[in-house]
């Protein structure tokens, strides 16, 4: 197992390297001149002289050849230096660290929601199979998977914030403000997860060991908990990688709508302000998280089902 993961990690290095190059290429070739905007911000006027722009280019390191810029950036990443933000004039590391907390808050609340709502829903749908409740779950899951986050967010805001005035419209003030954003991020994954778990449980229910467990007198909930869930978890864990992607994407849109000061909002701000170092660092980071997440999923297979061997039988 350890050897398998180590090899996967080694294979991931060229991928990450190529990814970093792609990101760098895309970001630095985007239309618009960050040096000009930088000079305008500095002089506080709309008009920046050619001299100002040139100075800004030198200051931001944009006058150097492309590969020199890329090399410097890559060297910085390896040594833990992500460069300096164009707009905030402070190290990207500091800028991102300040935004990491809120994003972690939002994602952990969402993951918690996914688990405490999605899992029981899936179990219930499976246990109520061929009962009218299963149909209701089906409709809810279909709706949940179809409603876009950016629409759900406004439905919630209009209902809970502007009409009932129960929750703050946006921003990050205390636990109450966390409720709507985490629902928005979690709903899609909840819908898909519960359907997957249901299907997987239904398949497991036909196994002999389930009949054995039932015949020895274990209650139906006991059967599901003790013998069903673990065996049904493999397809669900496979989906966990997709959940991670959905979280990373959902966070961007959700933070934008709720003015949640996290990494997703930072990424959007950086894109609109052409803050190259921040975009590069943020996008690369989501790539790393995504890759590490898919490794974690692979590692989990072996833990959940000892029959799965990741290393080739030599």
């Amino acid at each position: 197992m350890a050897r398998y993961l180590a090899r996967r990690l080694l294979v991931a290095i060229p991928t990450l390297l190529a990814l970093s190059f792609l990101i760098f290429l895309l970001v630095t070739n985007a239309p618009g001149d960050p040096a000009e905007e930088y000079a305008q911000r500095r002089s506080g006027s709309q008009q920046a002289t050619a001299q100002d722009i040139e100075n800004a280019q030198v200051e931001l390191g944009l006058d150097r050849p492309f590969f020199v810029q890329y090399g410097t950036w890559l060297k910085g990443i390896v040594t833990g230096d992500l460069g300096e933000s164009f707009t905030k004039r402070s190290p990207v590391y500091d800028v991102m660290r300040d935004r990491l907390g809120p994003t972690l808050e939002l994602t952990s609340a969402s993951v918690l929601l996914i688990l405490i709502v999605g899992l029981p829903l899936g179990v219930m749908a499976a246990m109520f199979h061929r009962h009218w409740t299963d149909q209701i779950f089906r409709v809810i899951a279909l709706l949940g998977a179809s409603i876009p986050g950016f629409f759900l967010a406004y439905v919630l805001i209009i209902q809970l914030a502007t009409e009932l005035k129960l929750l703050p419209v946006a921003g990050r003030q205390g636990l109450a403000s966390l409720i709507m954003p985490s629902i928005v991020v979690a709903l899609g994954p909840i819908a898909v997860l519960s359907r997957l778990l249901r299907a997987s449980l239904l398949e497991v229910f036909t196994e002999d060991y389930i009949r054995t467990a039932k015949s020895k007198g274990l209650g139906s909930l006991g059967v599901v908990m003790r013998h069903g869930l673990r065996n049904a978890s493999i397809p669900v864990v496979t989906y966990a990688g997709t959940v991670l992607g959905a979280l990373l994407e959902g966070v961007v849109v959700t933070e934008f709508i709720f003015a949640w000061p996290g990494l997703g909002l930072l990424t959007l701000e950086a894109i609109s302000q052409r803050d190259y170092p921040v975009i590069q660092a943020a996008v690369l980071m989501s790539g790393v998280i995504y890759l590490v997440g898919s490794f974690a999923v692979d590692a989990l297979y072996g833990v959940l089902d000892p029959r799965i061997r990741l290393e080739p039988a030599a």
Binding site: V11, P14, T15, L16, A18, L19, L22, I23, L26, V27, N29, A30, P31, H129, R130, D134, Q135, R138, L142, L143, A145, S146, I147, P148, G149, F150, F151, Y154, V155, I157, I158, T162, V169, A199, L202, E203, G245, A246, L248, E249, V252, V253, F256, T267, L268, I271, I279, V283, S286, G287, Y290, L291, L310, P312
Partner: protein
Amino acid sequence: MRSTAFSTRAYDWSQRRERAGGERPDKHSALRSGATAAGGDPVSTSEAVLRQAGDAFVPVRRRAFRRLLKDRTAAVGLIIVLLVVLAALLAPWLATHDPVETNFSDRFSPVSRKHPMGTDNLGRDVFSRILHGARLSLGMALSATIGITVLGVLLGLVAGMYGRFAETVIMRAVDVLLALPTLILALVVVGLLGQGLRNLIITIILVGWPRYARLVRGMSLKIREQDFVEAARAVGATRPRIMFRHVAPNLLGPIVVFSTLDLGSVLLSVSGLSFLGFGVGPPTPEWGAMLAEARPFLDRAPQLLFWPGAAITLMVLAFNLAGDGLRDLLDPRTVESTPGWERRLRKRRRPPAHPTGPAPADIEVLRTAARGVAGAGTS
């Protein structure tokens, strides 16, 4: 794992060709001479024979479509899709107003006979904008999906059929592109291309093709090992010919299903990116952009957010319903897990068991049938 994948494709094509084309009197040349004796171009004749074998299964496919309509939820999805597409096509005649015409004396008006969905912050008729928006949103989603499918199938086929350098380059690119969540990659790409309708579609195609390419490559690796490909190779068909006439038609069926399933999520990407401001410019009616435009009037006119949002949700829901039905149809396992009442319904209405050929749920059969139809269409 990866090394095994590579070893299965380590297949010496040149050697095969040589053997098939050589002068030695082996079974391949026998087959070829037999085809020539039947008259006409040897390649196309034997190919026609191969295709005819597939044609025998066409009724299975037709029955499959009828079953799709019998599935109540899938039928609902299909009907919604058809209705909205029809409305989008007829938008210029159905719309009561010009979608971009402003009227400052009639802003934020409520739902009325004159304005079935009210008017927006500039006094534009929301109903007309939603109708015209359907053209843009659905048109973009459809063209992006077609673009993704074509690019993904082409690159996947090349990777699967040519191997070596082309495969390495394409599959490495796939790995890199799939190392980022789609939306985040799309944000960076659209940042490079700039805002606008065409750039948005290009972005979604560039971001979306890798999953298709991976799928198609895997499928073509399997298909090219099958007997009919070997037979085609034996009669001297060139590699592009085998690729497009024999391998491509065989994976077309599943790929079409895959892209149909994908339409909903492509629509979500299109409207999501438009919502974030990377789509079409302000006056143009597009659902995602309309939602973004209504944002500042959240307190004053929440209904302006409702209409475009509901339109997107309805369409995605309809695509998901239709797609689910399609998947159920092609996946033999789901028959077991469909709810009782639904299964009873299907059993009652399904035509009496298969008069010819094996079970319709057999995906291999469907594939062959798909090949037959696609092949017949191209000749």
